[in-house]
Symmetry: C2
Subunit: 259 residues, 2 copies
Amino acid sequence: MKSSLSIIKIGGNVIGNESELAKFLSLFSELDGLKILVHGGGNLATQIFKRMGVASQMIGGRRVTDKAGLEVITMVYAGLANKNIVAKLQANGCNAIGMSGADGNAIQAHKRPVKDIDYGFAGDVDGVDANLLSRLLGSGLTPVFCAMTHDGKGQLLNTNADTIASELAIGLSGMYETTLYYCFEKNGVLRNIWDERSVIEHIDPEIYQELLNQGTIADGMLPKMTNCFHALKNGVAKVCIGNTIMLAQNENPYTTLTL
Amino acid sequence: MKSSLSIIKIGGNVIGNESELAKFLSLFSELDGLKILVHGGGNLATQIFKRMGVASQMIGGRRVTDKAGLEVITMVYAGLANKNIVAKLQANGCNAIGMSGADGNAIQAHKRPVKDIDYGFAGDVDGVDANLLSRLLGSGLTPVFCAMTHDGKGQLLNTNADTIASELAIGLSGMYETTLYYCFEKNGVLRNIWDERSVIEHIDPEIYQELLNQGTIADGMLPKMTNCFHALKNGVAKVCIGNTIMLAQNENPYTTLTL
């Protein structure tokens, strides 16, 4: 039987909020078994963009990354956010090791080809080095990935944190029973977006089709769902979506997706 | 017989100078055997301090690190400088992994006690996890350390890069025959500071005493020498001081220190 591995993507709303981050890191540290954390830069990135006087353009929820923007992202994601998280996990007794996709060549990617939109230094993932990660996990380390990859030719690339989490979960599903956790600001996938108590606790492809037909799932939740089912179809055992509190495995409801 | 391990501290003048850095990283990649790179932030840090509007105070060649300064240092050392070096080494076929002392709890330190001067968030090293580093080296990885440590209680600390290099070399000398390389802007320890051809090729404690008596070694070179002999007295096999070109092991002279 394969060991279990949890891949947890932390929400952007938690990064840069000191008390929320501390709460999350405490829950994460207490989580049993092998685990990997994935984060972006959240509000922290927005703040530093402003302070450095670097303009930041978003198209369809994705950042357009020019040379100056990539510098800021490298500083905030791989530096400020990553090292503070690692130092705090260490204080909680979790032996974290901060990484980008360039470190140990863990995640290779290529610059997104320009079609209608030029996203600049944005990376689409080619593959994950499961052997490297398995060696790190096996020696008691907990990898903490910031949302950056590289192209193997010396270029760092800004890469969507949700995608990094799902690619890690897929890439490691041959060696581990992987569960993917997406933490965000809501309690889960909601029937009524204005009612936090309307969490849909289980979604499979059939239920998903019904929800789509009813128009219950739309807008920002659509790419998230596509990403989740992509992961499930490629070997990931389970995807969970909810507030950070779902990691406590208490009675608060959250959404679980399976095939 | 113990395997050889080279610990190379890159000069601040090289970081932030794209062509010099590329030259150095190419030499570093071609270096045979196990190796570890150590870097600070150099000019790059000074530039970002300015752009962020954060004041930076230096006392006796050491930076006083307040909260805002620590943020900038974390962004530049662990983010911008470290990840660019790692991505470029990967492009050269060197399987680099970027680290701070917090990552994997590799280097623990404590905040420097306040005596006459309060250096703020400056760290004095307590110890190095040689087993972790040996596992990383043994699996084909080349650690690249930025000049940061942590106190194990969640606090990152700015730590002198020369010190990190010597502590790594000392800490690993039980498992490896360690050679410490200090790359800086000069060809080595010079008899005449204005003459780059006046390199003193070998220094041992006896010669060092003579040079001190003659007043040949003074000012900025004194703490560097103290640091070198401290390393030698604690298990390091050899210390080399010179321009990056010394890594090419060609005929250019540089300074070697032994006991």
